[in-house]
C-alpha cells in the first residue's frame, strides 16, 4: 500500500541555547490506514519530529512527503492549506477557543476550508460530535465542559475536514485512565471504520502496545520502527 506520510533523511538542529542535533537522519513512512505510535524518553525528539510532520515547523533539513507529494519548501500560505485539508491535530492540552461554543470550535477548520455550505458544515460537525457521544454539548461554551469532553471535542475538530492523517501529541496526557481508554477506543474505531491513518506520540506504554506499530526513538534516532 502507498504511504500517506513519508520522511527522507530529516535532520534538525536547535541553535539556542547551544547548538544541538535533535533529529538525526529520520526516514520512515506511514501507510494508509495504519495506527502508529512514537515512543521515547523525554528529550528523544519525538515531539519535535511530530511538529515537523505536522508542517508547522519548517526549520529542518531533509524531505517530507504527504500523499507522495513533496511538502518541504512550500510557502507558509500553502502549508496552512495543507494542514487545513489533510492533517488533523490533537494536542496534549485541549486548546479549544474558549469564547466559542463547542459546535463553532468544531466547525472552524471547515469554514476556513470553505468548500461546503454553512448548513453542510453544521451537519458534519453535529455528526462528528454525535459519533464521539458528545452531541448534547454542541451549544455549550468550550470553557464550560470537562477535560475529557474537551479532548473529544478536539478530536471532532481534527476530523471535520476528513483529513488524510490524524496526529496526536500525547492525546491521552493529563487524562484519567477512563478517559484515556475512551480516546484509544475512538482512535481505534476511526482506523477500523473509516480507514484513517493515525500517528500518535505518547509516553504511555499500555497505549502504545495496542497500536499497529511502535516507532521507538532515542537521542534523536529511530532505534526500532516496529513490526
Amino acid at each position: 500500500m502507498s504511504p500517506v506520510l513519508e520522511t527522507k533523511n530529516i535532520n534538525k538542529y536547535f541553535r539556542k541555547p547551544v547548538d544541538f542535533h535533535v533529529l538525526k537522519d529520520i526516514s520512515f513512512s506511514i501507510k494508509k490506514g495504519e495506527f502508529a505510535s512514537i515512543m521515547g524518553k523525554s528529550g528523544s525528539g519525538k515531539s519535535t519530529l511530530l511538529y515537523i510532520l505536522s508542517t508547522m515547523d519548517t526549520d529542518y533539513e531533509g524531505k517530507l512527503f504527504l500523499n507522495n507529494e513533496l511538502v518541504t519548501g512550500n510557502s507558509h500560505q500553502a502549508l496552512s492549506k495543507i494542514r487545513n485539508e489533510h492533517i488533523g491535530f490533537v494536542f496534549q492540552f485541549h486548546y479549544l477557543l474558549s469564547e466559542f461554543t463547542v459546535l463553532e470550535n468544531v466547525m472552524l477548520p471547515a469554514k476556513k476550508l470553505g468548500v461546503k455550505t454553512y448548513q453542510e458544515i453544521e451537519n458534519d460537525a453535529k455528526e462528528k460530535l454525535e459519533m464521539l457521544n458528545i452531541g448534547h454539548l454542541g451549544l455549550k461554551r468550550a470553557s464550560r465542559i470537562s477535560g475529557g469532553e474537551k479532548k473529544r471535542v478536539a478530536i471532532a475538530r481534527a476530523l471535520i475536514n476528513n483529513p488524510t492523517i490524524l496526529m496526536g501529541d500525547e492525546p491521552t496526557g493529563n487524562l484519567d485512565s477512563f478517559n484515556a481508554e475512551n480516546v484509544f477506543q475512538i482512535f481505534k474505531r476511526l482506523k477500523e471504520e473509516q480507514g484513517l491513518s493515525l500517528l500518535v506520540v505518547t509516553h504511555d506504554y499500555d497505549f502504545a502496545k495496542r497500536t499497529d506499530r511502535i516507532i521507538e526513538m532515542e537521542d534523536g534516532r529511530i532505534i526500532s520502527s516496529g513490526p
Binding site: Y51, M56, E85, Y95, L97, K111, L113
Partner: protein
C-alpha cells in the same frame, strides 16, 4: 480565497467578549475625531467669518492711479549724460491726475470680458464732516450702489436704512456708524460736509454703514457716484477707482498684471493686498490640524496597547488557529479587522459627537458690536471635513493595528503548543 466571513466572525467574538477594552479603544477614537470635527468646524467657521470681514470688502482687482515718482527721471532722457552716474536729489511725485484716464471706456471694456463678474466705478474724495465748529476728517466714496450690492455683500453692512434709500435720494449719504455715534446723528438727520477746497454741502442721512472695522467706520461714508462728482465739481467721467469682481478668484493675479500693462495704471489683486491675512488663516488651520493629529495619535496608542494585550491573551488561540490551517495572513486579518472595526465605530460615533457639538456651538449667541451680521458663533458644516475625519480615524487605527497584528502573524505555533 480569504474566508472573510470566518475571519470577521472571530474578530466580532473577540471584540464582544472584551467589551470593556473595545469600548475604551473606540472611545479614544471617538474623542479624537469628535474633537477634530468640532475644532475644525469652529475654526474654519471663524476663519470664513474673518475672511468675509476683510476679503469681501476688498475687490478681486482694484484699479487706481497711484501717486508716485516716474521711474525714468528726465535726466535719463538727456543724451549728454548717457552712461554717467546721475544722482537726483529731492525726487517729487509725477504730476498727474487722481482720476483714471479714460475710465469709462475701460469700464465698458471690462464689462464685456467674460471672466469679469462685474466692475464698479468709485470716486474717492477727502472731505471733512462738520459738526458745529468741529471738523472731522474722512472719506466720502461715490458708488454705483445697486451694482455694489449685486457684487459684494454690501447690503449686510448697512445696519440702518437700505441701499435702495440711497439709490432713490440724490443727496443721500450712508454714514459710517462710528461717525454717527461721534456726532450723535440718526437716520433722517442732515450732515454737512466740506471739501478740501472749502465748499460746503448738506447731505441727508439715509442709513448707517458698519463694516466691523472701527478704523473704517470712523472715517468712511458712501454716497451716489454723481453726487460725489458734483461735490468735487468734476465731470461724470471723473472716476478714481475701479473695483473688479471676477468669476474665478484665482484669475486675479494674472489679470491684474495684464490690466496694469494694458492701461498703464496701478492694479492690485486680492491675494497681494491680503497676503498677511492668508498667513493668519493658514496658521489657524495648522494649529487645528496639529491638535487633532495629536489627539488621534493618543487614540492610536490606546488601540495599539489594547490589541497588544489582546494578542498576548490570545496566544493559545492564535496557535490553535494556525495549527488547524489558518495562515499567518488570516490571523493578521483577524486582528486588523478588529482594529478597523474599532476605528470605524469610534470614528462614526466621533463624527456624530462632533456634529452634535458643532450644532450646539452654532446655537450659542455671539453678539458683537464689530460684526453686525453675526448673531451666533460661526460654524462651518462642510462635508469634506467629515470625510477627512473618518479617513483620519481609519488610517490611525490601521497603523495602530498593523504593528501588533503583524506580531500575531509571526507567532510560531510550535513554541506555544510545546509550552517553551
Amino acid at each position: 480565497m480569504t474566508q472573510w466571513k470566518v475571519i470577521l466572525n472571530i474578530a466580532k467574538t473577540h471584540l464582544l467578549t472584551k467589551m470593556k477594552s473595545t469600548a475604551t479603544a473606540s472611545l479614544g477614537v471617538t474623542f479624537g475625531i469628535g474633537a477634530y470635527i468640532t475644532l475644525v468646524s469652529f475654526m474654519t467657521g471663524l476663519n470664513a467669518m474673518l475672511d468675509d470681514l476683510i476679503l469681501n470688502q476688498t475687490p478681486h482687482i482694484h484699479l487706481y492711479n497711484e501717486i508716485q515718482p516716474t521711474e525714468k527721471q528726465p535726466i535719463a532722457l538727456y543724451d549728454a549724460f548717457e552712461g554717467a552716474f546721475n544722482v537726483v536729489h529731492s525726487v517729487k511725485p509725477k504730476q498727474s491726475q487722481r482720476k483714471i484716464h479714460n475710465a469709462l471706456p475701460i469700464l465698458d471694456y471690462l464689462k464685456k470680458d467674460p471672466e469679469v463678474k462685474g466692475a464698479t466705478p468709485q470716486v474717492r474724495a477727502q472731505i471733512f464732516y462738520l459738526s458745529g465748529s468741529i471738523e472731522l476728517g474722512g472719506n466720502l466714496i461715490g458708488v454705483d450702489i445697486m451694482e455694489e450690492v449685486r457684487l459684494s455683500n454690501f447690503r449686510d453692512y448697512i445696519v440702518e436704512g437700505s441701499p435702495e434709500d440711497l439709490q432713490n435720494l440724490d443727496n443721500g449719504i450712508l454714514l459710517g456708524a462710528g461717525l454717527a455715534k461721534k456726532m450723535s446723528l440718526s437716520v433722517g438727520d442732515r450732515v454737512q460736509i466740506s471739501t478740501v477746497r472749502g465748499d460746503i454741502f448738506p447731505l441727508k442721512i439715509v442709513g448707517f454703514y458698519q463694516s466691523g472695522i472701527a478704523e473704517i467706520d470712523n472715517i468712511q461714508s458712501y454716497a451716489n457716484l454723481a453726487t460725489v462728482q458734483r461735490i468735487l465739481g468734476e465731470a461724470t467721467n471723473y472716476i478714481t477707482d475701479i473695483n473688479i469682481k471676477l468669476n474665478n478668484i484665482e484669475a486675479a493675479l494674472p489679470m491684474s498684471q495684464m490690466l496694469e500693462k494694458q492701461f498703464n495704471i496701478k492694479a492690485t489683486d486680492i491675494k497681494t493686498a491680503n497676503a498677511q491675512f492668508e498667513t493668519g488663516t493658514d496658521i489657524r488651520n495648522l494649529i487645528t490640524y496639529a491638535v487633532s493629529i495629536t489627539l488621534l495619535i493618543v487614540a492610536g496608542f490606546g488601540i495599539y496597547n489594547i490589541l497588544n494585550m489582546l494578542i498576548y491573551e490570545k496566544m493559545n488561540d492564535i496557535a490553535i488557529l494556525k495549527a488547524t490551517g489558518f495562515s499567518g495572513r488570516d490571523v493578521q486579518l483577524i486582528f486588523m479587522s478588529q482594529a478597523m472595526i474599532i476605528g470605524l465605530v469610534g470614528g462614526i460615533l466621533g463624527l456624530c459627537i462632533g456634529f452634535g457639538l458643532s450644532v450646539f456651538i452654532d446655537q450659542l449667541p455671539f453678539d458683537t458690536e464689530a460684526l453686525p451680521t453675526i448673531e451666533t458663533f460661526p460654524v462651518n458644516f462642510k462635508v469634506h471635513y467629515y470625510v477627512i475625519g473618518i479617513v483620519f480615524a481609519l488610517i490611525s487605527t490601521f497603523i495602530a493595528g498593523y504593528l501588533p497584528s503583524n506580531k500575531a502573524k509571526r507567532i510560531d505555533p510550535v513554541r506555544i503548543i510545546r509550552g517553551t
